[in-house]
Symmetry: none
DNA sequence: ATATAATCGAGACGGTACGTCAAGTCTTGTT
DNA sequence: AACAAGACTTGACGTACCGTCTCGATTATAT
C-alpha cells in the first residue's frame, strides 16, 4: 500500500492533536464502563471527552470502531504466557487468563456487547476478529501445533477447531448466559477436549477390544473424580 | 402463567382479536427476513401488519420479545430426532440439523442478530435461553446421559459442558464469523470431543511413547482421513 | 381541492394538541423578538416552546414558514382603515399605519429579515407575498380604483404600479437603510406620486400656459399641469 | 483608509500575493453564479480558489464582504450615461440600464440575495449602500437636481425621495417578486412620478366630454389600450 | 549570510444547527 | 375492552459550515 500523495513525507497542515485522540478514547472507555454497549453513543463520547462530534467522525469511521478502540483502553491487549511445553498446562493457563478477564472485570459484558453490536456492523465484526480474537487464538494454535509436532496431539486435527471447542463454550456462556463462567471451567474444558469423553471401561465390556495392550491414555488426569456438577444452571 | 386479575372468568370488553396477533407475528417474521435484526423496528412491523403501535406494545413487552416471536414464525421449533442409541451418531444427527438450519436458511444470521440484541435486552436473553437454547440442549443432554448410563461416556463429566463444547464452536462461528460453518463440522466436532485429542498408545508404534502404564484405548479414530483443515478462514 | 382520503369527515387518531401549536408560535415570536431573524432557529424555538423538533418539522414545512407564523403572533394582521373617499387622505392614513409599524415596533427589522430570508427560500417569498403584501395592497388598490372610478385618478394607470411607487421606497429604506423612515414620509410619498414632480411654472415658460393664477401648484389637484407630451409613446 | 502602522513605509515580510486575491475573487464570483447567495460559503470559495480559509479570513472581514467583492467581479460598476438634459429621457435611460441588468443577467437574484444577507450583516448592508446604491443614485440625483435648477422640477422636493419612488418599486419587485420587471417598467415609473397620477383639467379640452357635469372627464377608462394588467402576478 | 517577519496552504478542532429516524407514551374515536 | 390512527417527547444519528487554531513552506526586507 504505497502512499499515493505527492509528498508523503512532507507533513502539511496542523498536526493531529493527540490529546484529543486520547481524550476521546478515554471517554469512550469510560462510557463503555458506565453505560455499557447499550448506552454507548458518539454524542455521549463527545460530551464526556470534550471533543466535537465532527472530530470523532473524522477519525473513527463508525460507532463500532470507536467502541472497539474504547474497549482497548480498558483492556491491555497483552497475551504474555510463558509456555512450559505441556499442552494441557499451557492451554489452561491461557484460557484461564481469558476467563478471569471475563469473570472478574467489566470487560466480559462489554465484549459481549461488542460482539452483539457486530451482528449489525460487519466492519466491527471484522475488527473484533482481527484485533481481539485472532491474536489470542494464535497463542493457542502455537501451543497445539507444538504439541502436534511433539507427538502429543493427533496431527490430523485442525488446531483451529480444537481451540473453538475450548473457547466456544466460554463465549457461548458469555453471550447467552445459560451457564456460569466458573473458575474451574478452563481446566475442565481443556481436559475434556484433550482426553475425550468416551469410557475406557465401556469399550472393554461392550466392544471387541481393538487392541488390548495399550497403557497410556491421558497422561496426567488420572483422578478426574470430583464432579464439576456446579456447572449446572437453572 | 395464570391470569392474575380479580375476576379471571368475567371477560368484559371486546375480546382480543387473534387475527391481529397473527398479522403482527407474520409482519415481524417478514420484516426479519427482509431487513434482518438491524432493520427490525416496531414501527416497521406496525406498518407491515396494519396493526397500531399501541397494540403491539400492549401484547409484547419489548422489541426483542416481538422479534423472537417473529423469529418463531420462521422456524418451526420442532426437534424431532429418532435416537439410535449410538452416542456419536445421535449427536451428529442432531448437531447436523442445527448446522443445516444455520447454513442453509436465513435464520442463522437472524438468530445471531437476536443473540446480539440480547446483549442489550436481558429479557430477550432469557427468552432465547428458555425458548431456543434449552429445548435443543435437552435432547443433547438426554443422549449424553443415556450414553453415560450405558457406560459409554465417562460418568464424571457434566453433559452440559460436553454439549457446550459441541455447540459452542458453532455459535461462535455464527456470531463472529472467524471460520465457516462447513458441512462436516458437526461430525468433526462430535468425534473430537468424544475421542479427545491426545495421541493414543497405539501411536506408540509410530511415535515414542511417553508413558506406558495404562490401558484404555478408544479405537475408532484411525480413519479420520478427510482433513477438516478447510475450516480455516480469512 | 377536494380531500382525497377515504373518509375525510371522520377524524381519526389523537387530535392535534393546540397548546403545542400555540407554544411553538409563541416561542417563534419570542425568539424573533429576542434574536431577530439571524438568531432564529428551529432548535431555538423547540427549546423555548418546549416542543420537540420533530413536531415542529411535522407542522411547518420549513424554517421560513415557522418564522412567518411566528411573525404573525407579533403583528395582528388587522388592516382596518375607514375610508373617507379622499384618495390622498386615505392613502396617507394607510401608508402611515404601515410606516408607524415599521418605525415604532420591532417588526420592521423582523419583516426585513424575513424578506431577506425569502431570498433563499422561494416558498417563504410566496408566503410573504400572499399573506403580508397582498392583503395590504388590496386596500391600497381599492382606494386607487375608487379614485379612478370617481375620476380623480387617471384611469390608464395600473394601480399596482402606483402602490409600488408609494410602498417601494418604504421597503427599500427598510431593507437597505440608505434613508430613514421619517414620520412625514407617508404624506410626502403620497403627495408626490399624486401630483407628480414637474413644475407647472416650467410649463408656462415653455408651453402655452394652461392656467396662470396659481400661487402654489400641487396643494390640490384641481387644475394640474399637463404632462409633457414627449412622455407619450407607444 | 490610511495605513495605521508605526512605519507604514517600511514593508517587511513576504508581500501579499495578488494572484491569491484574484483567485479568491474569481472563485467567489463563480460560486455566486453557480450556487447563488444561498450556496455561497467561505469554504466553497476556498475550495474553488485553492486559497486557504485562513487567508480569506485575513483579507475579508466577513462572508458578506467576500460575497460583495465577488459580486463586483461579475458586474462592472460602470454607470456611464450620457445625459441629454431632458429629465425624463435621462432618467429612463439610467433606470432602464439597471432594469436590464436585473432582468437579463444573473445578477438580479444575486443582488437580491446580497440584500437579503445584509439583513443579518450590518456591515454588508453599509457596503451595499456605499458601493452599489449610492453611486447609482448620485447620477439620478444629478439629473433631478439639474432639472430642478432648470426649473423643470419642483424645487421643494427631495431628489432622494423622487429616486426612491422610481427605484423603490424595482427593488421591491426584485426582492419580493409580487410583480415582474417588465421592459416598459422604467418608462412607466419615470413618467408617472414626473406627471403624477391625478387627472388633469386639460384633458377636458382634448377629449370629447362623455359627461359634462363633472370636472373630470374619463368616466371609465375607455381605451386602456395596452393593458398594464399583465403586471399582476400570481 | 542571516535574522526577522509576513504570506500562504493544509488541515485540526469546538461549536451550532440542520433534517431525519425510531422508541415509547399519550389521546382520540370506532368497533 | 380492543384496536387504528396519529400526536407528542426524547435521544441520537450523520453532515455542513462557521471561525479559530496550529503547523510547515515560502518570500521578502533588514541587519
Amino acid at each position: 500500500m504505497a502512499d499515493m500523495r505527492a509528498n508523503p513525507d512532507v507533513k502539511r497542515g496542523r498536526p493531529r492533536q493527540l490529546s484529543v485522540r486520547d481524550a476521546v478514547l478515554a471517554g469512550a472507555g469510560q462510557l463503555l464502563l458506565q453505560a455499557g454497549t447499550k448506552g454507548f453513543s458518539i454524542e455521549g463520547v463527545a460530551r464526556l471527552s470534550g471533543a466535537s462530534k465532527v472530530t470523532i467522525y473524522k477519525w473513527w469511521p463508525s460507532k463500532g470502531a470507536l467502541a472497539l478502540d474504547g474497549f482497548y483502553t480498558l483492556v491491555s491487549p497483552s497475551i504474555d504466557t510463558t509456555l512450559t511445553g505441556d499442552v494441557e498446562q499451557d492451554l489452561v493457563t491461557q484460557v484461564s487468563a481469558v476467563l478471569a478477564l471475563f469473570r472478574d472485570t467489566a470487560i466480559g459484558p462489554i465484549l459481549a456487547g461488542l460482539i452483539g453490536e457486530a451482528q449489525r456492523d460487519p466492519e466491527l465484526a471484522a475488527a473484533i476478529r482481527e484485533r481481539w480474537l485472532e491474536p489470542r487464538r494464535q497463542c493457542g494454535v502455537a501451543i497445539v501445533e507444538a504439541a502436534q509436532a511433539a507427538g502429543h496431539v493427533r496431527p490430523d486435527l485442525d488446531p483451529t477447531m480444537i481451540l473453538d471447542q475450548i473457547y466456544g463454550p466460554i463465549y457461548l456462556r458469555l453471550l447467552v448466559g445459560h451457564a456460569p463462567l466458573t473458575d474451574d471451567l478452563a481446566a475442565a474444558l481443556v481436559r475434556t477436549i484433550l482426553s475425550g469423553v468416551l469410557c475406557r471401561a465401556s469399550d472393554a465390556s461392550e466392544r471387541p477390544a481393538r487392541s488390548t495392550h495399550h497403557e497410556h491414555n491421558w497422561t496426567r488426569r488420572d483422578e478426574l473424580a470430583k464432579a464439576p456438577s456446579a456447572a449446572r444452571h437453572s
